[in-house]
Symmetry: C2
């Protein structure tokens, strides 16, 4: 296979096919800003942290022929006796990020050198029979595969395979993939005919891709089996119950996603892979049903997921408190991974809308603009302080956000026999295959005009489809070569089918008026408040930017007066908004007669994109704001 | 001492002295309704449950000369390995309730007989040296006093002493008190000179009262020491940290209450006892400071306390989510016990206001109107179902609410050299001492007119002071013998000082207009919503009463139209309220543009007092309601 994709390799059963890695070159805007920082700063920072935490040394020690000793770092026993080592996966995710990042961005030479050495270390640590998990190999090799519930061995294998595929596809370097495949072969041999599943889904996606890469069916067969083995209580209840690791009921019978959010999303992504590759309509229908259900009542405005700190889990329908929100960065990443797989199965603008929202808000909030500190959780409201940290004891999120940013280009466009579909808008050059070469010129999302210019195309009719976000569905325009053009509008896309010639341009104009949104009243904690949005960007009141004390007292005026002002990041704007800073009468306790008028001081405050909150300071944050009038 | 009080026995240092047990006879209204049900139904129900759970058998087995066996019931090891047996205290609280209930109400003869036998069983179970805790005596006597953090031995002693005092004071039956005193003597001997404190405060209050009863100072001395021993980390961090059991910082330095709510409140009540009896102004100032701080930002509208299920604890300031609320019934009881002790130290209507609110709402919500089922937690909003239960594995709340209801008469009035203070309004006959005999005639809180009639009084001037609740402070009237009278209004009380003669009447008229209140915006989860109150009663929308689906969609109209209608309980009213039942546009996800108008159907719904919610069914409940307009 030439020029393979980031993930799912294209195949006949996909309604929309992904473009090869490198086919989309992001040339500007906020995503380029983030991708550059990621490649040039974050990867080196991650390397330093992985070294410092001992996570890389875990491999080196085994490779030296040793079997570990008490000086070993990077394990988590002090933190949580039930959690076995999954820190190998931090290294794999970082290696994957390094590979994808270098497709289009400059990665520092010392990072590349180190990555190259680490690939060797990983291979050197592998046991003779293919097993690889430094925790079990070091502390007690006899215990391997003894605790599938929390052991994370197959989870780590999943990330190893994904990293291996990236190194193979980007560099033609098959070392890591060989290591992964040897371990996968052991797992297939050992668990191919069993009832075994891993407590943390992940390997399913990887096994599917391994079959796509190698053509060998046994990996996909095991992945499919591991989807259908779930829900039989194999893992036992554990501390959080079977739903925590999606073992409460069969995947096909799940109405929505429950339990640990990242586990659930990775499982759903793997199931979607199985469904599409196997043409399993029943399984695909289950995935779509769950996606609709999650979107309907279990996703935050920011695209964040996971309402509960306990078990890092989804809550009940509409249980979406802004302050108690967990919204793990990895969950937003998992949502994007899953949604992307579904996007390949049918044309539905809701998918692209949600991917866009999640990336711009709840995913990119996971990393500081400077690229050196991270959020594990991304609550929408913060009462005191929620500083980003340089790293975490459980450091799944930082390398995960690195590989997510390194693969954002993948989300921009797909192609079909009939044409090209643009899902995400960034300044870019797109080689869509079959001789179709395009550029996207836009200041989006600061600006609402997106021009897709044809650099080259075959002389035959084909359709150019552009996503019309739901927030602009009633107010958008399509032009071809500067003149209004009739477009075929369906399923959230506007399509113009014609013979496109070099120099032709299709222009989509979206309405970027500032909007206020309110929550379904069943989202109890957000009733009576509003959030400010502009395009796909959710805005937040970051006290460190806005000053003036507790943002709880800020009330938006009924007729919103919000002026865009330049942001620190190209292609984004901040908002300058008229508000009332409420002054409370001191009643000695926190309940006030509504007959008392709301007193306050008119002021203007600066709102920033949610993903930028916490960059100026760690202080209080509000995404859901008070409104005037409110409270009767 | 003749005719002693329920708790704190009056002494010279109290600014307002409690009246003896039996001095106030409640003759009607909602409190009488509850007290009758308590005496006639709940006590028998509690006896049955205590028997069924094996809690009484724990004593019987030891008394038979045995040392327990595997068949022992009523322990909690299966539930929580760190929690030792505190179930003895359930029996003591029930015994205390039986004693106080029979002062004014008919308690079934078989309950009295059983109680009499249980008092014998308790005494019979006591170890020769005075020790008494059936858990340790049965399972491993060598372990006694080995785990003060979770052992609950001194906690149980506290309840034993309180029960013993009740039996002594009501019946002149000193058996239980002797048992308690023998154990107390052991504890004084063993821990009088040590750094020992109990992980669950309670014994401090009891030891103070034991000194008041016996005149022996060593008990009060130990109580005072145990207040000041706290905050030195003696108990270790445990699972929840030192703040969980108020061992993080010295009591005198605590700004507010933190940690496990019931523990904190019982400690504060004990500290207040120590402060008043010892004339310890510094300690009293600490208690007042904490009370003001709790009232300012850590109490729910219902008088409930404890925001977090984790550790059953207080949250941060203004962390008062209505749905995630813990609001343990015992915490509302603890608030009343503490507040009452503070009320005796100075004239401050805010105390009576909060006691009234807590009793009518968050305390009485703990028991069904039928008296046979109970809430452990009392959240203000319930999304699905929160049925009361007949009993609990940890059954602290049911017998606690029984003794609380049996002692409500205590809260009605106090006396000073200068006169009588009425704090709570119920139809009653009051023998206020010094020849002052009064009746209170009122339909309160259904009706706002309270008439205090003098049946007998000395021929000399004295002051009759009546509390003016804050919600009526701008709108109330005082009359004497039907004519408006000038009153001395200060500190939340209206006082008329004169020579009161037989037949004279002072009438207070309060404004019972229905009000809507909103929360301090720092209570994030309640922003933009309103609650409905009338007098001291917080109203709730109980879906089982109101019908029509999810109460989340109910919005109050801006100009509230609320008509009182009869309630199932005398002296209370339900409210018939005009609302809009919102109908949402299906946006596929739970966020809506505020430019979309709020559509809905005008309707009328029945609101019930919060304490009555869940009596018609366990369905959804909302105390904080949507408002129109809201959300900008």
């Amino acid at each position: 296979m030439t020029r393979p994709t980031v993930w799912p390799a294209p195949h006949a059963r996909l309604a929309q096919r992904p473009l090869p890695a490198g086919a989309v070159t992001v040339t500007g805007g906020p995503w380029q800003y983030r991708r550059r920082t990621n490649a040039r700063v974050s990867l080196a920072h991650g390397l330093e942290q992985l070294r410092r935490s001992g996570t890389i040394a875990n491999f080196a020690r085994l490779g030296a022929g040793g079997s570990g000793d008490g000086g070993r770092h990077g394990h988590l026993d002090a933190f949580d006796p039930d959690t076995k080592n999954f820190v190998d996966s931090d290294v794999y995710k970082w290696l994957e990020a390094v590979a994808w990042a270098r497709v289009a961005e400059q990665v520092p030479a010392d990072v590349l050198e180190a990555a190259d050495e680490i690939v060797e270390l990983v291979g050197g640590a592998q046991a003779p029979d293919g097993y690889l998990n430094t925790w079990f190999q070091t502390l007690d090799p006899s215990e391997r595969f003894s605790d599938l519930r929390y052991g994370h061995e197959l989870y780590c294998l999943g990330h190893l395979i994904q990293a291996g595929l990236a190194w193979q596809r980007v560099r033609g370097d098959d070392r890591l993939l060989k290591t992964g495949r040897r371990f996968a072969d052991l797992v297939v041999e050992r668990f191919g005919d069993s009832d075994v599943v891993c407590g943390h889904p992940c390997v399913e996606m990887a096994l599917m891709e391994l079959t796509r890469e190698t053509g060998e069916p046994q990996y996909a067969r095991l992945a499919a089996a591991m989807i259908d083995r779930r829900g039989r209580g194999t893992l036992g209840a554990g501390r959080f119950g079977s739903a925590y690791y999606q073992d409460e009921r069969p995947y096909r019978e799940m109405r929505t996603l429950d339990g640990h959010a990242v586990r659930a999303l990775y499982l759903a992504a793997g199931a979607t892979d199985v469904a599409t590759d196997n043409g399993d309509g029943d399984l695909l229908a289950a995935a779509w049903r769950q996606w609709e259900a999650v979107r309907r009542s279990r996703v935050y405005l920011t695209g964040g997921l996971g309402s509960r700190h306990l078990g890092e889990s989804f809550g009940a329908d509409y249980e979406l408190p802004p302050d108690a929100a967990y919204c793990e960065t990895c969950a937003a990443i998992g949502l994007v991974m899953w949604s992307w797989r579904l996007q390949l199965t049918r044309t539905d603008g809701a998918i692209g809308d949600l991917i866009e929202r999640a990336v711009h808000n709840g995913l990119l909030s996971g990393v500081a603009l400077g690229g050196r500190s991270f959020h594990y959780t991304n609550p929408l409201d913060v009462h005191d302080a929620h500083p980003r940290q340089e790293w975490f004891e459980i450091a799944c999120c930082p390398p995960n956000v690195m590989r997510a940013i390194a693969t954002l280009d993948q989300l921009v466009a797909t192609e079909t026999d009939d044409g090209v579909q643009l899902h995400q808008y960034v300044p870019a050059r797109i080689d869509a295959g079959r001789g179709r070469v395009l550029t996207v010129e836009t200041g989006y999302p600061a600006d609402g005009t997106i021009t897709v210019r044809v650099l080259a195309a075959p002389v035959q009719p084909w359709g150019m489809a552009v996503r019309v976000p739901a927030w602009s569905a009633q107010r958008f325009a399509v032009a071809v070569n500067g003149a209004p053009a009739p477009a075929d509008v369906a399923d959230g896309y506007a399509k113009v089918r014609r013979v496109w010639r070099e120099g032709d341009a299709m222009t989509l104009t979206l309405d970027l008026a500032v909007r206020t949104v309110r929550a379904d009243p069943r989202i109890s904690a957000a009733r009576g408040t509003v959030a400010v949005e502009r395009g796909p960007i959710v805005y937040a009141l970051d006290a460190a930017v806005a000053g003036g004390g507790d943002p709880a007292f800020v009330r938006l005026q009924e007729d919103l007066d919000a002026q865009p002002v330049p942001s620190a990041v190209p292609g984004l704007v901040d908002l300058d908004v008229a508000v009332l800073r409420e002054r409370l009468r001191d009643a000695g306790w926190p309940y006030l007669d509504t007959a008392d008028p709301v007193a306050g001081v008119a002021a203007r405050v600066r709102l920033v994109p949610f993903a930028h909150a916490g960059n100026a300071g760690a202080g209080p944050l509000r995404t859901w704001l008070g409104a005037t009038p409110a409270g009767g």
